[in-house]
Amino acid sequence: MLDLQGYGPRLIEGAGVTVQLAVLSLLLAIVLGLFTATAKMSRHWLLHRVATVYTTLIRGVPDLVLMMLLFYGGQIGVNAISDILYDHYDIDIYINFNAFAAGVLTIGFIFGAYMGETFRGAFMAVDNGQIEAGKAYGMSSALVFRRIRFPQMMRHALPGLSNNWMVLLKTTALVSVIGLTDMVRVAAEASRATHEPFVFLIPVAVAYLLIASVSEWIFARLQKRYDIGFGEH
């Protein structure tokens, strides 16, 4: 049997961190992605420009570097402001990014850019007639979005979404550099302390494969759900 030398509970805790981080980041990324896609399709030039710069820059720079930049840089920026407030106005607001929140924000922010592209393609694939029918029956834009565009878009977005999720899941392994104790970090720490890397890294690899397999299954179910009404029956 695998002897985890007492690190078992911490590894499981780390796996919990990995999953929570990944899921919350995914949610944030989806929300950001929807905004970005909408902005990119809008006729408002400023929104369009901002969204384009966002997606281009983010996709041009490695996650790890972005994480360092956003995490440290972002914090130092926030602090500069709170320092000024403290020095000059004696206002002591204390804005503390906890590492977990920072991790979620950073990963969510990065993958929002990728999601934006996925959603944009998916929105454009929705038949315009479906949307016109919604408008023609007196639906407001918001209602059309919620009841027609979104559910139909999801069908086209899911394959890309599932890809992005897999990449995102693996990206969470990088958060140890900003001080989060995910399962990779626990495994790395344990292998340093015990000098037995295989014992800890292999279970972690298996855990990732497990999560990947489960999510593949979930995505297949989702795809089936959103495919209802399309294609042959």
Binding site: Q130, A133, A136, Y137, G138, M139, Q152, F230
Partner: protein
């Protein structure tokens, strides 16, 4: 006296450099069935789409029951001043499309109750009961839980008509409702439309079915290059055309 359900005046519309509608007017009194005919590209669809503002007319007025749509001018051209007003107005003008445009991710029943519940604010129960009555009427009771992709074109179009009826519209707009159908399926749809006409629905219909226009409509309008070339009772316009163009247009169909 009740106000006119739908009145449009002097509608103009250009796409880029070409003026597609050059000032078109139309008045639909309660119970009127107005058919729009004309060659391909004459502007029939565009005119119809301007009526419920799926296209924004560059000029002209649209008045429902004496209530005129308000416009404003923006950088992008003329636009409705109050989108709320447009949304309310569209709920009273139900459009039936050439390609049906039933929502693909919903069953037929869901398609029909969607707008009554979310736009008119009906209860689900009430909407569903009404929907079943309508399905009965268009002969689709058995297909309530089918998805559009599982139905034939004719069934889809009858479903789309039921969806339009579910809004209890003041005026129904039809854009070539049978032209995407196989010839065998056209009859069912036309029959449903004829019933609607007989029961006194106000309708504006773009069609190529001359026999339908002749039998059912109270008024026929022949469009040519964005202008009304001839208009009047079906007997006058179809039976005794004046302009050479309309004569030529009618010839191959006889």
């Amino acid at each position: 006296m009740a106000a006119t359900p739908l009145e449009v005046r002097n509608i103009k519309k250009r796409f880029g450099d070409t003026e597609v509608l050059k000032g078109l007017s139309l008045e639909a009194q309660k119970g009127d069935v107005i058919t729009l005919i004309g060659a391909s590209g004459s502007g029939k669809s565009t005119f119809l789409r301007c009526m419920n503002l799926l296209e924004q007319p560059d000029d002209g007025e649209i008045i429902l029951h004496g209530d005129a749509i308000r416009f404003k001018h923006t950088r992008h051209g003329r636009e409705p001043a109050d989108w709320k007003q447009v949304v309310q107005m569209r709920a009273k003008l139900s459009m039936v499309f050439q390609n049906f445009n039933l929502w693909a991710h919903m069953t037929l029943l869901q398609n029909i109750i969607e707008a009554p519940i979310h736009v008119l604010g009906k209860s689900r129960k009430e909407a569903t009961d009404h929907a079943h009555a309508l399905l009965e009427r268009v002969g689709l009771s058995a297909r309530a839980n089918a998805y559009p992709a599982q139905m034939s074109g004719g069934q889809q179009q009858r479903g789309a008509i039921a969806r339009a009826l579910a809004m209890d519209p003041e005026v129904m707009l039809f854009d070539e409702p049978t032209s995407a159908l196989d010839p065998e399926l056209v009859g069912d749809v036309l029959k449903v439309m004829r019933d609607l006409a007989n029961e006194g629905r106000t309708m504006v219909v773009v069609t190529h079915e001359m026999s339908f226009a002749r039998d059912v409509s109270s008024k026929v309008i022949y469009l040519h290059q964005g202008l009304v070339e001839e208009a009047g009772s079906p007997d006058d316009v179809l039976g005794n055309p004046q302009s050479p163009r309309l004569k030529q247009f009618l010839t191959p169909n006889y």
